[in-house]
Symmetry: C2
Subunit: 342 residues, 2 copies
């Protein structure tokens, strides 16, 4: 994947592996954790490194002269503004030191994200912003081998070697659910994003289940619908939930875009929000205030998060500081879509 | 700007200039328009090129082997979804051939856009998507010198050497204005994006003026407010327009985001839309259907435009086809925010 090698005809990790007759993983272990390989293997690999005059990228990277002042971000989607504001703040912070941000969007697909990460590294990105922590460990190894500083935003996790600038999705979602339970809601449904490869989505659902359990309800009684993020999907999911008996009195949504769809579907169906059914969102993006009634949601400090994520990444990249974790406070934005049980 | 050179330790244009004791501009003139430099200068530069074994990037570019399968896009903003849908479609088309799209956003600033364009080229972009045609000619020279295929979208223009995949902003805006004039509107105001470096914004205003003229009105009687694209700015601009005597009966907006702001401001002010004042937008992004009343706007076929822009760029990049111009049809999306004069 070392494009700098490819484009300039320099030897790559792959070339060294071929020459030494070992796997690329073995070559990088020799270079990064020699203790993990036998002396014989190390000797063979180092001979190949010598012979091919191979310079590992992370070595070059240490030289400021080799810096590109370009940073990369891979976000799940550019459609709907979920990530737009935070990424814009991230970019503004980089622009203030004349660095450029290049953004790729993975469409919530793990394999696409992986190739975009490799591509951004191949293009010489000095550091990366990624969303959440839920990805193949091999990707973190790949980035660590190349010494690429990484900041993960929108979540807090325990991935070693990377910075986290995010918030506690579960606690935030739990707080909102507790508020709804206090208003008497018992029949609760949840419209979630696809939870696979999405730690934020899973944590938000868990927060609601935790609140239900604490209130003496069966967490498994939560009616869960998973769908893609879009107003249209939110509408469809709300229709599904309202079909048949035993309608929920509260429809919580994993994201404001889904909540907007739910509120619009309710209007189409002649269901009063919050009179008949309450709806909540998550994120507090602008669209939550545009729909009527405006949506009660979890306010995520997107601009602050984007700015602090940039600062953390720059401290790692330019000052060689160790990774850090910054957990931001969220709050409930109280609007009209959540009310007491009718 | 030759990053392949920099990161791989190959000689750069700067190295050649230093060696020859001339400016980098002179070096690239020697390489691209030798006629513009004296024979003596050319000889000195070429000697340096020989000595350093310098290979200009645009030369390397001709070799398919040097392709990165990475394309770049520079859009004015990632906030609000104006460009999101079209860029997503553009990316989807590239993804279908396993190419990656890297996106930079310029915040509507010409100097930022220029450095992002140079950066994407330095990162090895095989081709670029840019919005509109309104930029420093030197940028087109820079791209032409390096043989980087370019497609300009969201507008149609006559810049030689690049493809256009867009629509006629003036005609689309004129058609909507004609519709409003037929409904009896005479006191018309327009909330526009900043028109500097924004050919789309200027064309949309011109379309309204043309319709006014054709209807026997003084085009200069159009009350024009220029502001940045945001719901907040749209609200503020609407407030300004409603202050004092002689309120307009129609407020046309250069973009749906501004129109949403105008409709929300009207609600706050107790002004009925369209009973007291009609509001129109432009783009037909999702938010136009979320606000109440939903906004009558110009429907731009964003997905189709993004997809066709990718096809045109790939034809140039992979098949060496000449640039082409594709002008898409727009239509009026009739909703509730435009009505007859009360």
């Amino acid at each position: 994947m070392n494009n700098q090698g490819r484009t300039a005809g320099l030897p790559t990790l792959e070339d060294v592996a071929r020459q030494a007759g070992v796997s690329t993983a073995t070559v990088s272990r020799c270079l990064n954790n020699p203790a993990q390989v036998t002396e014989a293997t190390r000797a063979r690999v180092m001979e190949a490194v010598e012979k091919l005059r191979y310079t590992p990228n992370f070595g070059a990277r240490a030289l400021a002269a080799r810096r590109t002042n370009t940073y990369g971000a891979v976000i799940p989607t550019m459609e709907n503004a979920i990530f737009a504001r935070g990424v814009q703040a991230f970019q503004d912070a980089l622009a203030s030191i004349d660095s450029t941000l290049l953004v790729a969007s993975s469409n919530y697909e793990a394999s696409v994200e992986e190739s975009q990460i490799r591509n951004l590294v191949a293009r010489g990105a000095d550091g990366l912003l990624l969303i959440g922590a839920d990805r193949d460990p091999a990707i973190y190894d790949f980035l660590a081998e190349r010494g690429i500083p990484v900041v993960l935003a929108w979540a807090i996790g325990n991935q070693p070697g990377v910075s986290f600038v995010g918030f506690d999705n579960e606690a935030a979602s739990r707080k909102l659910a507790e508020k709804a339970l206090k208003l008497g809601h018992r029949r609760i449904a949840y419209i979630s994003a696809q939870s696979i490869h999405n730690d934020r989505a899973r944590a938000r659902v868990e927060g609601v289940r935790a609140a239900m359990k604490a209130a003496g309800l069966d967490p498994q009684s939560l009616r869960l619908v998973e769908t893609h993020y879009s107003i249209k999907r939110g509408k469809a999911a709300f229709h599904t939930l309202m079909e048949g008996e035993d309608r929920p009195t509260l429809v919580m949504c994993g994201n404001d875009v889904l909540a907007v769809g739910a509120v619009m579907a309710a209007r189409e169906m002649g269901i009063d929000v919050p009179g008949d059914v309450s709806v909540t969102g998550f994120d507090d993006i602008e669209i939550a205030t545009v729909v009527s009634p405006p949506i009660t949601t979890v306010h995520v400090p997107h601009r602050k998060m984007g700015n602090l994520a940039a600062q953390a990444l720059l401290r790692q990249t330019l000052e060689g500081k160790p990774p850090e974790t910054i957990c931001l406070e969220t709050e409930i934005a109280e609007r009209a879509s959540l009310g007491p049980v009718g």
